[in-house]
Amino acid sequence: MKNSSALSDWVLFLAFAAAVLTMPLWLAPFGANYPDLMQKFAIFGVFAIGFNILFGLTGYLSFGHAAFLGVGSYTAVWSFKLLSMNVLPAIMFSIVVAGVFAFLIGYISLRRSGIYFSILTLAFAQMSYNLAYSVLTPITNGETGLQLSLSDARVLDAMAGITVTRSLPSTNLFGMKMSGMPGFYFCAVVLIVAFFIALRITRSPFGAMLKGIKSNQTRMAYTGLNTRPYLLWAFVISGMFAGLAGAMMAVTDPLAGAERMQWTASGEVVLMTILGGAGTLIGPVLGAALIKYFENIFSSFNERILNRAFEALPDSIQSIVVDTVGLFVGEGWHLTLGLLFMITVIFLPGGIMEGVRRITALFDRDKSGSSSAASNTAAAEHS
């Protein structure tokens, strides 16, 4: 992202697309090339990209984004139940419904900024979560979560002559089943499309407006510009991305539960974006993938594996080491997550992308010898 000419954007986009589509190949050495995990990479990548459009570009920290994810999931499952097991209508409905929902919440929340905005979004998300658990049970099926059943209507499928009698139908794209590798490729394509849209938004005059709001909203207002509509659109678009991510979750696993809307889930996407680098294009995807990868690796560790790993040590030391490491893995994975979160915010507020930039700037300086130029560009890019 040294310069934002159209050509380098295309190079970035093509490289990104190639990297996503070849994930099964280059993730093999990490032991992460199985469909379930890669689907998660793509889903949370979309979620984080969307969150970044709001937080990264405008600086408005929403603590309730998981609500849109949950709404997307519920909508998608209802679409599976009522209309068709085809994923396309499900995804479209999810995006639309999440967008409308985001519009309503955004319209109210965006009347305030800063910490008040965070608390307002948090309040709305908690309201949605509480309601989904209690009075909205007819729609959300409460604690059990919304699931498919054999007696569902599936109007469109019935019209097309597809009926199921014995086992639950699986989600499909015109007959292609959305589980395993096809499911991953579907998610990957969605991720690439989402990335492309985010790229276009960032480079558009609209994106420039948003960045202007982030750096100095008062000045934007003084130039005679009403910032509210821009913010609202950014909020709605990022809500739509979250809805899309929720729909993808339902596509890969057709059920929806209220816990997806809890504020810890909102915190997770904030973490992904921060870890990768808020305001950058690649950062959020990177952060999402890293967190899901570590979650998968760390939470699978248990005492037995640890004992085997530290077998070489003397018994007494082994037990101490296993106990200490055991704090951070398995059930304690969230501890690692919290630690990671703090370390990132304290030492590297720009996330991994800032780290990369610092390192490259270091090398640039060595090569060209003009340290001021390197630091100038770094500063310019950071803003």
């Binding site: 600086g59 109210i108 209690s134 969230h334």
Partner: protein, 338 residues
């Protein structure tokens, strides 16, 4: 009438907890200007001080059970009780009140450590960064507690002396059936005392006067040659103690588990916002007010009119207050109104 009176009381004890947490939260915000998302974790830490003390006091040995004569039966009895039958039993019974003595130094230490080690590096950083870093800290607290105490709630009992219910109906000339647990009354009184002493401390001591001056104009107080930073650090420790005490005393009402901090934090934040960021009186007022509102909203009569209102009432009030009067009920003009 009786039912209404009971609902007010019910609301007051929950409101007491909200008010205590919100008081610390707003104290920290008013002095240090830091938005502390780990404050709920401090409440939880206090609660687990009580759990720890109870666990330590009831380390048990096997003692022969004299009541069973057919065969040798053994029962578990706390060592303390076996060694000193009368005093030991008394101490075990009163473990929750005694936990206050443990919680004060522990929470003070924790608060000072947190302020010196982490928070002070974040004075100048944007609020978003403060929220994020303390959120991370809260997760860490929570997971450490879960690692050592497990995921299930651990019930604590109030001293048997006050485990029953008070017949307060007779006291106020209401119906005979208006009864209310003693412990909740104690909690309410306790909350009132703590709140009163915090206010008295700030109002009537020189230290408190300097702190209040610092809240008004930090720079000016600094220019007068007063090390305001050190006092603010102590205020942070104080806020931690208040949150911890709220947690200790709340354990017999709600069995503590590892996510209680987060649950209360979100609500307390809402309370602070409703009361007015940085306004101590506002936090207390809003705490009790929202507690009472919530308990009224959970009455069946009201739930049948507006289903689900009990789940969302607090958030709803917060949304309305933020939109209509963004500085909060008692907030000062111009403080964080954006």
């Amino acid at each position: 009438m009786d039912a209404l009176f009971l609902q007010v009381l019910n609301g007051l004890d929950k409101g007491g907890a909200y008010a205590l947490i919100a008081l610390g939260l707003t104290l920290v915000f008013g002095t240090l200007g830091v938005v502390n998302f780990a404050h709920g974790a401090l409440f939880m830490a206090g609660a687990f001080c009580a759990v720890t003390l109870e666990k330590v006091l009831t380390i048990s040995t096997k003692v022969k059970d004299e009541s069973i004569t057919f065969f040798d039966a053994y029962k578990e009895v706390p060592i303390l009780e076996a060694k000193f039958p009368v005093v030991g039993a008394f101490i075990v019974d009163f473990s929750v009140p005694f936990a206050i003595l443990l919680a004060i130094p522990v929470m003070l230490f924790l608060g000072l450590l947190m302020e010196r080690g982490l928070i002070r590096h974040f004075y100048k950083r944007p609020h978003a960064d403060q929220i994020l870093v303390t959120f991370g800290l809260a997760i860490i607290f929570q997971e450490i507690i879960r690692h050592y105490f497990g995921a299930n709630p651990i019930p604590q009992s109030a001293p048997s002396m006050v485990s029953g219910s008070a017949n307060i109906g007779a006291l106020f000339g209401l119906g005979e059936n208006v009864v209310y647990p003693w412990w909740r009354l104690i909690y309410l009184t306790f909350a009132a005392i703590v709140i009163a002493s915090v206010f008295a401390f700030l109002q009537f001591t020189t230290f408190g006067m300097v702190v209040r001056a610092g809240m008004q104009d930090r720079e000016m107080v600094g220019l007068l040659g007063i090390d305001i930073q050190r006092r603010f650090t102590i205020v942070f420790g104080m806020a931690a103690v208040v949150a911890g005490l709220a947690g200790v005393m709340y354990t017999p009402i709600l069995p503590p588990d590892y996510h209680m901090g987060m649950d209360f934090l979100v609500l307390s934040f809402v309370v602070v916002v409703v009361g007015g960021m940085g306004s101590l009186g506002g936090a207390v007022l809003a705490g009790f007010l929202l507690g009472i509102l919530q308990s009224f909203a959970s009455m069946n009569e009201i739930k049948s009119i507006i289903p689900g209102i009990d789940q969302i009432i607090i958030y709803l009030v917060a949304v309305i207050v933020l939109l209509v009067r963004p500085r909060g009920l008692l907030g000062r003009k111009g403080v964080m109104e954006e």
